[in-house]
Structures are given as structure tokens and as C-alpha cells.
Amino acid sequence: MIAHIARKERMEMWRDGRFRVAAVALLLLLAVALLTGLTTSRGTARDHEAAQEAMRGFWVNQGAKNPHSAAHYGLWVFKPSLPLSFVDHGVDAYTGVTTWLEAHKQNEFTRRPAMDRPNVARFGEWTAAAVLQLLVPLLIVMLAFPAFAGERETGTLRQLAAIGVPMRTLMLGKAAGIASALAVVLVPATLLGVATLWLGAGGGRGADDLVRFALLMLTYLAYFAVLLALALVVSARARNVRVALVLLLGFWTMNSLVAPRAVADLARQLHPTTSAVAFQAAMQRDIEQGLDGHNPADARRKAVEAQALREYRAVSLEALPVNFDAIAMQASEEYANTVFDRHFGDLYDRYRAQNTLTQWMGLVSPLLAVRSLSMGLAGTDVEQHRHFAVQAELYRRGLIRWTNNYFRDNTLTGEWDWKAPPELWAKYPPFEYDAPPVRQSVATQAAALLVLAGWLVLALALVWRAPAAPVV
């Protein structure tokens, strides 16, 4: 029976020219979005790889130099573009893409691509994710709103009830019919996505990317199932077709276009972040006066001095067999690092609090949870950026420690004019970024997963309870 109803629904939809046009248009749009997404993603990846290589070249060929000058010369690292970013660009345009690794300072990321874009870019962009998040739900609403309300208005719902078709069967049949019509768009799009992924996959992370892609598909399927169920239930309960349509379109608008902004502002208000000026000033203060305000830089230097003299059993700094300046610099690096960890850690924790709130607000607007999951799985969310920032910073610390230790071991205190041999710089390994496995990316999406699962359960329960729908 369910199959019969589904077939009838599908046939009706297919006969409707508007559906055919919409389906073809959507499929085309998805194809274009996927392919341009791939081009952009690969272009960015190549651009960043080339820059990274060039910077490594500059570092290696900097010539004979004092190790501390080399540490000040530093190098720039560039955020790679991950394979799945072609589906969802996420926050990539809004995080800086590069940071300068230098002595003494953890710099912030600069060069946000969005800053160079024209005004119109902030209205949104056509990524595959945007099509899946905005347009497919709209198609679902358009297909589902008259499902029951229409039959009720024409009186056929009463007839169906009279010949003993159980409401639940009718509901499941209609759901299956609309879902199979949607499959006309979604199945080719998925195949195209897999093909694009296969085309674009350059690295050896194939399995992880496939899992990510599969989870991405599941996320969107769950979302579509939720929307379809909601639309059918609204259609079953609404007074007439008009009310069903207006309610569903209203929900779509709020969910897709108004909620993301409203919630972003709410998150800022509830978990405010400091201004850049205050952020820098606080770090400067903590480095100079100590994290607790009672351990100023001078006192710390004296303690390091005393410890060095003890360790080498020397009476004065001049008598040390190593360069004390380098020891002191490394000690001050270590202290600054604890300050950076606290402040940057606190900042990113605030971002996380804001984003977790956004995920929970998915309870009101399910798209928020889906957007978050989509970016997380594509590797284009804030957590991914943080992951990269942390690795870049650890590399910086290793590099600076290496220059300081080399300076310490090969010179005596005060030998600032000494130069290390030019072949030294190649000995420090180049920066290589290890993207997090999918497990780690999903871990920060717990709230979004729970919310989406909750919606799915609710939607299925509503469909199951369908008999409550009035016949007239």
C-alpha cells in the first residue's frame, strides 16, 4: 500500500512540469557549485603550498646569520585548504590565512580573504553547502505543503479515509513518494560529489576524507528527513493549503536566513570577546609583570641567572661555558609562551562557547546544527582553524628554541656579532601540518549531533503519530 501511494505521489510530481524544471535547475546548480568549489579549493591549496615552499626557501637560504637574527627573520606559514572544503568553504574566507612565526611573539592570523571581496560577497556564496542548506529545503517545502491540505481541500482525503486507508500508511507513502522524487536530485549530486572528491584528492588521507564525505551526506539526509516530516505534519494539521504554505515558508525563512545572524549576535553578547587592543595590552602586561602581577621580567631574569650559575658552578656570567643571553632569551620565551597559552586559549575557548551556543540553538532552528556539522566535517570551521593555529605555534616554539639552544651552545655570553654557518637553517625540518582525523572534528560537534538526532527522533515520532490529522 505504502509503495502504491509513493508511486502515485512520485508520478504526480513528475508530471508537474514545475518539479522537473526545479529538479534540473537544482541539479545543475549543485554541479556548478561542486566544480567551482573544487577549482577554488585546489587553487587556494596550490597558492598556499607554493607560498609555503617559497618561505621555506627564504628561510633555508638566509645565509650566515646570528641565530637570534634568524629567529627574528622567522617565516610565514599558510593554512592549507583541506580536500572537502570544496563542499563547504565555511569560515575560510573570514580567518586569516597566514601568520608570521617570529621570536618573542605569537602573532595572530592575518590576510582574511573576505577583506578584499566586494560588498555583495557578504550576501552569501553559491557553494554546494549553500544549495543543500537553502534550496533543497525550499524544494521539500514546495513538494510537501499540499500533500494533505490539498487532498483535504479537494475532498479526496475523506474518500481515502472512507475506503479504509490508515492515515499512517498514507503519511508514510507520501513521505516515501516525495523522498524518491528528491532522490532524482540527490543521488546524482552525491555521485558527482564522490567523483569530485576523487578528482580533487591529492593527499593520502583518502579513507578519512571518504568517511567525512559519508558523514556529510548523512547529516544532510537527516536534515532533509526532518524537514520533509515537518512539512508533511504541517500539511496534515493546517487549516488549508494556504496556511500550510505560509507556515512552512515562514519557518524556512526564519530557519535559513534570519536565525544564523540573530544567533551569531546573541552568542557575541553572551560570551563577549575583548578588543584586539585590550587583548594585546593584557598579554604585554602579563609578560612584563608576570601572570600573577608579582613576578616581573627583571626578577625572572635574576632567577634564571642564579640558576645558570648554580648549574654550571660558575661565579659570573662571563665565566659560563655557554651563552647566557641565549639562556635568558629562551627562559623569557618559555614564560611568554605560558602567557600566550592562557590568553589565546581563553580567546579560542570563548569562540568555542559562542559556537556551542549556536549548535544548541539548533533546537530552535535545525539549520544551525547542520551548518555547524557541515563546516566541521568539511574541515572549514573555527575548531579546524584553531587546530592549525596551535600546530603553527608549536612549530614556532620549536624553531625559536632550536635557534636559542644553538646560540647558547656555540657561543659565549655577549657574542652578538657571531654568525652561524649558512647551511645551518636547512637542518630544522620544514613545517608540515597534520589535519585532525574525523573523530577529532566530530568531538567538538557533540551538541550539533545531539540536536540533529533529537530533531530526527521528533520528526519520525510526528510522522508515526499521523492519525491525529483531521480528515475535513
Binding site: 627564504f58 610565514w76 577583506m115 560588498n119 515558508l249 549576535d265
Partner: protein, 474 residues
């Protein structure tokens, strides 16, 4: 029946309905939220700017007293001019929160609004992005401009989508068409009263919000700007009234009308902007900042490797810098800055190519954006509130001018090996930036205004013609 009778009747009908009141409450809620967000952001920026100014004036006061002591006491050491030009005497170039800033966040969440200009190259001091969660930047702000551009049309549509089709659906149209009054008069009154209600509520609310976000209404120039800002809101709303009139007069049923109107909204607010953005960036790709970063490093390395050659070359190109003709070996700052400028000279064509590629992209985007009244309205509202992207470009140009003056001042002292004297503090180059006057804004946006006005007029004309021929039955 005369016009006033018809209008009065429609007005009574509207007030008896529940929908307008629900929508008015909803609009008040979103407007309050938008105003609150705008106000918070303006206060945040004002506080940051106050912190910066305080630190700047403390630094200058310290320098002032040091230089004063040095005048009378030769044992007091004054830092070399290079140090003062790079940090000791530097203050920030600041783009203040504009008077109407609370009405719009605009481009101000993404672009730096201050920079500590120094003798160093611009790349070294321009990375002053505000601390912000990228996720929030992606979502955009829920400010009053968002309320006007995105939400206001929805409210208009919600109240008017079935103005005519509803009458037909209920069969009441046949009744009043039997009355001795032209159909177009009744329909116009219906549409006019409903749209007028929304716009009246919108204008009163937005005026109130302007006061709430702290717009200094006592200043006549500011008040004029606010009135023009409200004028743009009305013009944009008028465009939507035109769309509603045409759709209402054409659609077969209320459901069809709702779908068509929401579809138009989607096309104007989402589809056209995203498509314009995609096409423009495909035809005029963004130049790469990443490549720029690499090129800058290559140029600096090159100048550093050239060493004395770079220094001499720079001095040969700028004989006015050095009266004696030779740079003392001990003048470390002179050497550093000469090398820096040598690298900058090498970068000039790279920057120029970058800027011109970007300008071409922005010009194309501005032109293509005329396809969407939503983008045009937003542009006008941002510009009138002094929160547009263009304002940041002008700020950037002002920084360039100031940077040049600053460099000239300090280069003369660095290369001439002169210390900065106390009396010279007063003549340090000062940053100056003036916002455009209302007249200049309007002159600059004449094309956009016209491009918004034309489709509106066309829609009204078509709507009016169609209203006169509305059928009683489908």
C-alpha cells in the same frame, strides 16, 4: 464613493484584523534587537578607540617630558629619530565611529579601524584586524540595515500578499465590484492602507531606534542624514510595494501570490547577490594576498642582500634626503630604512597590479549589483550611515598620505642625523580624515539611487495598469 471614504473604510478593516498588530509587535522586537546590536558594537568600538587614544597620549606626554628635560640637560639621552619614528612618537590613525554608526555595522566588523603609522613599511602596521570569531563574521550582523533590507520586505509581503487575491478567494470581490466605485480605487486603497501601515510603523520605529542607538539628533547635518537614510528605507520599501502590486494583480490565488512574492524576495536578496558574487569572482579573480606576502619577503631579502648597493641606490634616487651625500657607517637606522625603501620601490609595481586587479573586480561587482535592489539599498544605507566599504578605502588612502608625511618628517632627521627637538613635537605630522558630506554621498551614489528608482517606477506603473484590469474570477 469618494477617495477618503474608501480609504477610511479600508483603514477600519485593517485595524479590526489581528495580523497587523502581530506584525507590528514582531517588527518592534527585531528592530529593538537590531538597534541593541548596533549600539553594542558602536560602544565596543568607542571603548577600544578611547583605550588607544589614552595610550597614545601617555606615550606622547612621556616623550614630551623627556625631550624637555634633554633641552636643559645634556646628560639626558634622547632616542635616535629612527626609534621615535618607528615607535616612540607614533600615534594611531583612527577612523572614529560615525554619528549614525549605531544604525549599521556594515563593513566595520571586518576592516581595521585604526593603525599605528610608523616609518616602517605599511605592511608592518596594517594588520590590526579586530578580534572576532570568524563564525560570527561569516553569519554577518543582525543590525538595523539587516532588518530593513531582509526583514522589512517579508513583513510587507506577510501583510499584503493576499490583498487582492484574498478578496477573490473569499468571493467578496464580486460583492464590492457591484458597488458604484471603480475597482482600481478600492484595490489601491487596500494596498495603500496596508503598505502605508507597515511603512508608517517602520519609519516611526526606525526614528525611535536612531534615538535609542545614540544618533545625535540635535545636529542638523546628522538629522538630514537620518532623514535621507529613512528616505532610502522608503524607496526600497516602495520597490517592494511595486512588486507586491504587480504580483497581487497577476496571481491566480493567494497561495500563488505568496509563493511568487517569497520567490521574488529570495531572488532579490539571496539568488542575485550570490550569483553576481560568483560570476564576478570567476571573471575577475581576486588577486592573491598570499603571493603578495611572498613577493614582499623576496623584495626585502633582495634589498638586504644588496646591502650597501641598496642603500646607495636609494640615496641616489632621493638626493634631498642627504645633504652631505654620504651615509655614515654608524647610521644603522639610515641603512635599515634605505633598504626598506629600496624593497618598497621594488614592490610598487606589484602593489599597483594588485590594486588595479582588485579595483576592476570591485567596479564590476558594483555594476552587476545593480541587478539587485537589496544590494543597492544596503549600499546606500551603509554609505549614508558612514559604514560602507568605500569609507574604509578612503581611510586607507588617508593613512597612505599620513604615512608619507610621517616618513618624510623622520627620514629627513634619520638621514640628516638630527635628533628630534622638543619644539618639533608640535609639528609632527597629524593624521586627518574627513567623512564626506551628505551632498558628496548623494553625488557619489546618484547612479545607485537612479538604478533603484527606475525599477520601482516601472513596477508601480505596471502595477497600476494591472490593478485596473483585475478580474473578479480566476
Amino acid at each position: 464613493m469618494r477617495w477618503p471614504t474608501v480609504w477610511r473604510n479600508e483603514w477600519r478593516l485593517l485595524l479590526a484584523d489581528r495580523a497587523p498588530w502581530v506584525l507590528a509587535v514582531l517588527f518592534t522586537a527585531v528592530a529593538l534587537y537590531g538597534a541593541w546590536n548596533g549600539r553594542q558594537w558602536s560602544s565596543f568600538q568607542r571603548a577600544a578607540v578611547a583605550d588607544i587614544r589614552r595610550a597614545d597620549s601617555e606615550r606622547l606626554a612621556k616623550l614630551d617630558s623627556l625631550l624637555q628635560r634633554a633641552e636643559g640637560d645634556s646628560t639626558v639621552s634622547v632616542p635616535p629619530a629612527g626609534v621615535l619614528g618607528a615607535s616612540g612618537a607614533t600615534t594611531h590613525a583612527i577612523l572614529d565611529v560615525p554619528p549614525l554608526g549605531g544604525l549599521a555595522v556594515g563593513a566595520s566588523d571586518l576592516h581595521p579601524y585604526y593603525a599605528r603609522v610608523s616609518v616602517r613599511s605599511k605592511a608592518s602596521f596594517m594588520a590590526t584586524d579586530e578580534v572576532e570569531n570568524p563564525h560570527n563574521l561569516l553569519a554577518g550582523r543582525f543590525d538595523l540595515v539587516f532588518v530593513v533590507v531582509w526583514v522589512l520586505p517579508l513583513l510587507l509581503i506577510a501583510l499584503t500578499y493576499n490583498t487582492i487575491t484574498g478578496e477573490r478567494d473569499q468571493g467578496t470581490m464580486a460583492l464590492w465590484r457591484a458597488q458604484p466605485v471603480p475597482a482600481s480605487r478600492v484595490l489601491l486603497a487596500k494596498l495603500g492602507v496596508r503598505a502605508g501601515f507597515v511603512l508608517g510603523v517602520a519609519c516611526v520605529l526606525l526614528g525611535l531606534m536612531a534615538w535609542l542607538v545614540g544618533v545625535p539628533l540635535g545636529d542638523p547635518a546628522v538629522l538630514l542624514r537620518l532623514l535621507l537614510w529613512l528616505g532610502v528605507v522608503l524607496l526600497y520599501a516602495a520597490f517592494w510595494v511595486g512588486v507586491i502590486a504587480v504580483v497581487n494583480a497577476t496571481a491566480r490565488s493567494s497561495a500563488a501570490s505568496a509563493v511568487l512574492l517569497l520567490g521574488s524576495w529570495l531572488v532579490v536578496v539571496v539568488v542575485i547577490p550570490a550569483t553576481v558574487s560568483a560570476v564576478v569572482s570567476a571573471v575577475y579573480p581576486s588577486p592573491s594576498r598570499v603571493a603578495l606576502t611572498t613577493a614582499l619577503r623576496a623584495a626585502s631579502d633582495e634589498a638586504a642582500a644588496q646591502g650597501d648597493t641598496a642603500v646607495n641606490q636609494f640615496l641616489a634616487d632621493h638626493p634631498e634626503m642627504l645633504q652631505t651625500g654620504v651615509l655614515a657607517a654608524s647610521n644603522a637606522w639610515g641603512r635599515t630604512l634605505a633598504q626598506q625603501e629600496r624593497a618598497n620601490d621594488a614592490m610598487r609595481p606589484v602593489y599597483a597590479a594588485f590594486d588595479s586587479a582588485l579595483a576592476a573586480q570591485h567596479r564590476a561587482a558594483a555594476l552587476a549589483s545593480m541587478a539587485s535592489p537589496a544590494v543597492m539599498a544596503q549600499e546606500l544605507l551603509h554609505d549614508l550611515a558612514d559604514r560602507s566599504l568605500a569609507r574604509f578605502r578612503r581611510f586607507d588612502a588617508a593613512i597612505d598620505r599620513h604615512h608619507e608625511a610621517w616618513q618624510t618628517f623622520f627620514f629627513q632627521r634619520v638621514f640628516g642625523e638630527r635628533k628630534v627637538r622638543h619644539a618639533e613635537l608640535a609639528s609632527l605630522p597629524r593624521f586627518a580624515y574627513d567623512d564626506r558630506s551628505v551632498g558628496e554621498v548623494l553625488a557619489g551614489q546618484g547612479g545607485t539611487l537612479l538604478a533603484l528608482l527606475l525599477p520601482t517606477a516601472l513596477l508601480w506603473w505596471v502595477g497600476w495598469r494591472r490593478l485596473k484590469r483585475v478580474a473578479v474570477h480566476e
